[in-house]
Symmetry: C2
Subunit: 188 residues, 2 copies
């Protein structure tokens, strides 16, 4: 029930906005009582935080699987991570929408639980860059922190324009971003 | 007075949010009457739209000066445009903040005036990529539209993390992004 409640709430928040969706709307959607809601969540804010945590925890889990894979190079790991981010915006569009748009409704106390995860997510990308530099697979004259922010900007921004039914698939967009980042756009 | 009113409103919108700022707050700030406000703007929405239009028109003007410059290569033009975008987030931080955060408060009718400008802004970047490909300065195997969106993502995202008093200046961040994009991050 908890997962189902989160799923339906994502749909409502994406459609109507977080502020405009009441707990009553959520329980109506599921044909349950408010008591059921409060059994799982202390408040609407806590539900929003849980949606965020689930989203980001899944991303981190996936990143760490990629990082731990001993058979791939650092450029290959970077490609997998870029693909996962663009892919998630396609496959989990509503979740991503709610994540980016409604984050500002979280209280200080809830943000304190989210921020370390967001940092971890960023640090995992930075680790790929740094280990890739050490392994001689990435150039060593660019600071890994700004490179990481550039990569995340490129992928995160796709949330604003990526159309799952558009001309290019998530796999094609990820491949283009990867080539831009790794080989550069200058003619060879 | 119109420019001053826009300046002060940007400060108020950035501090308190667009919804939370009343026309009364704006005229109080300037010691003028509501009549003065309505002499320049039909509504708070129109003021917000004018702020957006001014922001984006200045960016477009700057882009077109860069594009028209016959003495620079296309990679050089790209560098100038990346620098201008990161620099603006430093120098016109509040304006950028209001632009990105409050855009969703604009009505359909107001958005219709903004969207063609946003498209023009994007098309100018794409033109640099396309002409650079024709001139043999950029590689020809990557689609210019996705490359453009990747570049804009990288630079626009810096709005979320760039600290004017941080370790790296706008010029340094722009130089790193430029190198990543043009030469790529792979070891040479």
């Amino acid at each position: 029930m908890k997962d189902l409640m989160m799923e339906r709430s994502i749909q409502l928040f994406a459609q109507k906005g977080f502020k405009e969706t009441s707990i009553q709307d959520i329980v109506n959607e599921l044909n349950v009582t408010k008591g059921t809601f409060y059994y799982y969540f202390k408040s609407k804010q806590e539900l929003l935080m849980d949606i965020h945590l689930q989203y980001i925890e899944r991303l981190i889990e996936n990143q760490e699987t990629i990082l731990a894979d001993k058979t791939t190079s650092y450029p290959e790991k970077l490609h997998s991570i870029i693909f996962k981010l663009v892919h998630d915006i396609e496959k989990e569009g509503l979740r991503a929408k709610v994540f980016f748009r409604e984050m500002r409704h979280l209280s200080e106390e809830h943000l304190e639980q989210i921020i370390p995860k967001r940092d971890r997510f960023k640090e995992n990308v930075q680790e790929i860059i740094e280990k890739g530099i050490e392994a001689g697979q990435f150039r060593s004259d660019l600071p890994s922190d700004i490179v990481t922010l550039g990569i995340l900007g490129m992928t995160n921004w796709s949330y604003f324009w990526f159309q799952p039914d558009g001309e290019k698939s998530d796999r094609e967009v990820a491949a283009i971003f990867y080539k831009m980042l790794v080989k550069g756009i200058q003619s060879q």
